[in-house]
Symmetry: C6
Subunit: 73 residues, 6 copies
């Protein structure tokens, strides 16, 4: 299964995303993902060193600025 | 609904955008958005730590330099 | 009107451009713009904190390295 | 053999990946790779100066943020 | 004339290029340019604050990492 | 000859590559190159200020993260 399909299979579950820029890790529930890895997350929180920094709610992330996506057990 | 369509549904409402580069958060009313997440905002202001830094008015943002788009309630 | 068309409508007027990299703000007259937001500016000057730093004359800017385009009244 | 095919031939073996952003080196077993060099790794660990920093498990890496892929003997 | 055609018209003349990354300004004679603004320069030198730092000779520059191209009178 | 063809003509010879990210200069023998400037190098070494830092062996480099390619005499 190609990497983008692997991400699309995670729709409905919680994921962790590392972005470029000044954001720390984001955690949220994946609502949708396209083939460019653009992601729509809900109930998103920003995490730093295991602590919740901010609630971001519903966010759309631009695929080319995503470094890494990992499922949360 | 794919992430870019989710953004296009926000046309007419206020959004917050985090960009790459030295800009802080931008807030404005979304006038248009294409499939690459290029955005046209009006009444745009730059925000830092909850404070308004600058008024930017009408701006076009290049989609690939957008980190995150979030609706403002 | 899509964001790239909004920029193309600014051909002939003065615009301000924020780029990635070490450049400060650029101001110039937009000569041409394509759908990727590659821009050709003339009479371009680099601005820092309201002061003119350098005259750059005729420049071509790569669209993917543009953060923000805004019309100058 | 083109570079993306060279990477696809590494499916099933251990590779090392250097990413943009704040991550150190990643090492893991390559599960899949597409033509954009999007990668799915399993048993992924983050490495710094020869030391294991963190276990990341199953991760998807966005191709355009990959600097370098190298096979591990 | 679109911005990439403007650059292609500079084939044979001296140009200055600002790149992303740690390089300073590059100056050289443009040998070829494609529609992505990938450039082949010859007799290239790296410049910092008006001083020649290094001779680089024949170089190929990746278009997406070019910030700005300007003709040298 | 377009810039990507110029690079493809270097297959079999030694080249120097400057990448984005924390890597220093890379030197190696070019095994293959596609139109996106994705490169496969063998016998690759990382160089800093004329000194060999590390041997990297066989590496694949993502084209969009390449700043500059130059042939080594």
């Amino acid at each position: 299964m190609f990497p983008n399909k692997k991400v699309q299979k995670l729709v409905g579950s919680k994921i962790q995303v590392e972005m470029k820029g000044n954001l720390h890790l984001l955690e949220g529930t994946l609502k949708s993902a396209d083939d460019y890895l653009n992601l729509h997350l809900v109930d998103t929180v920003e995490i730093s060193e295991g602590e919740k920094l901010r609630s971001l709610g519903s966010v759309v992330l631009r695929g080319n600025n995503i470094i890494l996506v990992t499922p949360l057990e």
